[in-house]
């Protein structure tokens, strides 16, 4: 059907000229059932309005760059099919809970700072020389943390989290899930370095378990589970005798 059209309403905001963001409507051809929202934005940028700004990279749900609000829900736009919305208009807005830089581009500095604060890498008390061989793990040991390692830092969970929206000091879902990923890794010995951040009042204890972070995650990670398990673990470390042992 060559005449099929879809209406995209995208947020436009130029900090040099606009006082606040506004929606601009574009009617574009809906030529292919496999078109996703990102394809529509790319069409607009290539054929209608080259000034539209947004982030994207891989187009296959791996890089986590193209997260936006699609009809009010945080989505990877490369994974949001237009056919699921058509014939209704598709409203594309920047991710909630983040400062806006321009159009659909948000400022992710706060998230990057939080991500770095939980030291998302394997920490060893003493590095073993490469020549002594690899750190071997069993399948069970990998299964302990595998789910949390699927996080692609797309920040959809932050956009869905009202706790973060109300208090952006909160460490947030993805950073906690990644902290748990490393804390559960049998090769890692960095728990005590991460505890001051994750067990802080602005860490896991700020979460009141809305659970929406796990609902919107495009990779099936369950950050709400990571947060609640971390609450239990840190409590047990405090309550149990020898709970603070390494």
């Amino acid at each position: 059907m060559p005449d099929k059209k879809v209406t995209i309403q995208a947020t436009r905001f130029d900090p040099d000229h606009d006082e606040k963001p506004r929606l601009q409507s574009y009617e574009i051809p809906f030529s292919d059932e496999s078109m996703v929202v990102l394809d529509a934005l790319n069409y607009i940028k290539s054929h209608v309005d080259g000034s539209l700004s947004y982030r994207w990279s891989c187009r296959m749900g791996i890089c986590g760059s193209c997260g936006m609000m699609v009809n009010g829900t945080p989505k990877l736009t490369c994974n949001a099919f237009l056919r699921e919305y058509w014939p209704r208009p598709v409203v594309v807005e920047p991710l909630n809970n983040f400062p806006l830089i321009r159009d659909l581009v948000i400022d992710m500095d706060d998230f990057m700072h939080k991500l770095k604060s939980i030291k998302p890498w394997i920490i060893r008390k003493q590095e073993i020389p490469l020549g002594s061989g690899e750190h071997r793990q069993t399948n069970d040991q990998i299964d302990e943390f595998r789910q949390f390692s699927e996080c692609i830092n797309c920040m959809l969970c932050y956009a869905a989290c009202p706790v973060y929206g109300l208090n952006n000091e909160f460490l947030g879902p993805a950073a906690t899930a990644l902290a748990r990923r490393y804390n559960l890794d049998s090769r890692d010995q960095g728990l005590t370095q991460r505890l001051p951040v994750i067990a802080d009042t602005e860490g896991v204890w700020e979460c009141s378990f809305v659970g929406e972070c796990s609902v919107v995650c495009p990779k099936g990670v369950d950050p709400a589970k990571a947060i609640q398990q971390t609450k239990l673990d840190t409590t047990m470390r405090f309550v149990l005798p020898f709970g603070n042992r390494e």
Binding site: T73, P162, G165, S208, F209, V210, A224
Partner: protein
């Protein structure tokens, strides 16, 4: 965040309902403390507060308490991460055990209250 954020989705709405249920429950427990203090004056001078409005309020609070307890115990399967003989305990079994403990604790408390209240 607009103040109406909790009306944006069904999940947000039920989350706020879940959190709100704690408030009337706290009020009811405060009233229970008042009743206990009044009962301390002796059985001759004590008459329990039994107006229709209070009974309705108590029933509503009971429903809220059951809803809050149900959501809390259901989430136990997500939160508790147990291994027995090197195998993870299924979340459904953890949830079942929590509801079992809840039923046992409720039975024991009811027995104690009825036994000493006679």
């Amino acid at each position: 965040m607009p103040t109406s954020w909790w009306t944006r989705s069904r999940n947000y709405f039920f989350y706020v309902v879940r959190e709100f249920t704690a408030l009337p429950l706290a009020l009811w427990l405060l009233w229970l403390l008042v009743e206990i203090k009044r009962a301390g004056d002796g059985p001759a001078r004590y008459s329990p507060h039994g107006s229709a409005a209070f009974v309705v309020f108590s029933v509503v609070v009971l429903l809220f308490a059951l809803y809050h307890s149900f959501t809390f115990l259901t989430l136990a399967g997500t939160i508790i991460h147990l291994r027995v003989i090197d195998r993870p305990v299924p979340p459904s079994l953890i949830v079942l055990s929590q509801f079992g403990l809840w039923a046992v604790a409720s039975g024991v408390i009811a027995f104690v209250l009825i036994w000493f209240g006679r």
